[in-house]
Symmetry: C2
Subunit: 318 residues, 2 copies
């Protein structure tokens, strides 16, 4: 039997990935995991993949995209809140004064997030997110946010799904901020999206049931919260964990503690031309302790500049 | 083309269900939902089924099976807790004095549940549940608890899955009590099991990650908690909701508020010979307000005595 060179290339499951150690380690893992009789074969029900979102499936600079959503929402709600003009942290948002906003630290950001994410029904919130994501543009890339997903990661998700891995997002981002669009963009069903959440309340008024979003934290699905979220939503340890920052390290350890063969993949933002280059010193997506550990342990380390032929799907069409 | 009568019968998707209004309404709903072009066609991603567990997929008399687990666990732990001999509610458990235990109300039961379910790692807890469910016997039926699942419901789950409905358990029972065995018994994956939960804590000790179960309530997945749990875990409204008590009514309303065509199914325990007969007056599985509403609204109401040829799978083998 002769297999033509062209044929091989046309069936490359990861066409936007350059050949090399990283691509090879992923394909090797999947091939063994799906080869019956192989010592590293993994039963279908155990083929659990957990992937971070911000900085792993889409960009996260110059700020988490969900923060842009929150800021836009504060602007949209300002007419109902005349007092915000003279009240921090709202004042700085309305004056587009990011420096003053950031100077207020986590407490200020949390107040903005709660004011923009709580107090309405889950149905209303989903519809607001849908409208925003369909139209809002990234401040410097001048693209819709969902155009700033990583083409090589779309291919990886598709490749894993084709090999009957069940793919879950496990993100510090808001679960109800992601669910309205992740299905369409990543082909990941809503019930396979794990994220940070606020508490909710069910009420039945005039024969109409409503779930209202409360201004109270439920789960922060980051760092120690990631294994907690995985245990809560999935109930088994991943065999493949994918992330880009120190906030994913606990998820990597959780996968590592799986009695089943497992793979850790870290995305390293090394491409200052096509995307952004940042790691140890960055406030967003800090990749420091985990970068050391990934190197020590020989985890798959994706060098975006070297490993990826294209970054965004629109580059394929240009 | 001639279709033989025998052939038709052999392909009955619900062979343990007697023909009649209930069976017909279920098959009609599924047939329309899966017929492309039909006005009641439902897209695959929207084919969400949520089913209660206790009293819906398996029996729940003379007490929730999870309570028997808790009591057995208190006995097993007693040697480590000599003080329990003289301390309620433990004393009554160790003396098998159910009357005194029940007289202590919810607070007593909660203490028993926490003492028997918390303070250990999720891995340990899963293994304890697995061991218990593999060996423990129902006090009067003298069968393993997993033998007391309803054969007609296994067929219904299988029928819905074959028609590409995604089946979720949404139960007041403990999520980590169910997950160790629901996959094998119901063919429902762990991540499609929603239940009551306690809080957990992730720690990384000596390079070993552990999630510990804390004696603090997270979600009570009953009544108002069911739509909250559905929203948290699934992120979309069900098109089929199945339950047996007033505790499922809010889930039924949540399904009813779906903009997509939906079906409510209630199991009515009417068979005092083969199972148990109870409804309005029962403390377990109270079916009163919901029985009225099901009748008024014409929801599918399964009369166990009349609609089911067999109750338990072992009857088929006898
Ligand atoms: Ca990230
Ligand atoms: Ca029930």
């Amino acid at each position: 039997e002769i297999i033509l060179e062209e044929n091989q290339e046309s069936t490359d499951p990861l066409p936007s990935w350059n050949d090399g150690k990283t691509k090879e380690s992923i394909i090797n893992f999947v091939t063994k995991a799906t080869t019956e009789g192989h010592p590293d074969f993994i039963k279908k029900e155990d083929r659990i993949v957990t992937t971070d979102n911000d900085g792993t499936l889409w960009s996260e600079q110059p700020a988490y995209f969900q923060l842009f959503f929150a800021l836009d929402r504060i602007h949209a709600l300002a007419s109902e809140h005349p007092e915000w003009k003279n009240k921090q942290p709202y004042k700085s948002v309305l004056e587009n004064d990011m420096k003053t906003l950031m100077a207020q630290g986590e407490k200020g950001i949390l107040e903005i997030v709660m004011a923009s994410h709580a107090g309405i029904s889950t149905d209303e919130f989903a519809s607001i997110v849908k409208d925003w994501i369909a139209t809002a543009q990234h401040p410097t890339k001048k693209k819709k946010y969902t155009e700033l997903v990583f083409q090589p990661m779309l291919e990886l998700i598709n490749y894993l799904q084709a090999n009957e891995f069940k793919t879950f997002i496990v993100s510090g981002g808001g679960i109800e901020f992601m669910r309205p669009w992740t299905e369409e963009v990543y082909n990941i069903p809503k019930d396979q999206v794990v994220g940070s959440s606020i508490k909710t309340k069910y009420e039945y008024k005039d024969g109409q049931p409503t779930i209202t979003r409360l201004a109270e934290i439920d789960l922060i699905d980051d760092k120690e919260g990631k294994p907690v979220g995985i245990n809560r939503y999935i109930g088994r340890k991943p065999v493949i964990a994918i992330g880009n920052s120190d906030g994913d390290l606990q998820m990597m350890h959780w996968a590592e503690s799986n009695s089943i063969k497992n793979l850790q993949i870290y995305i390293h933002h090394t491409d200052s031309t096509r995307e952004w280059a940042y790691d140890r010193e960055s406030h967003i997506g800090t990749f420091d302790k985990a970068l050391d550990e990934a190197s020590q342990k020989g985890w798959a380390l994706v060098d975006m500049a070297k490993d990826w032929k294209v970054i965004y799907p629109y580059e394929l069409k240009d």
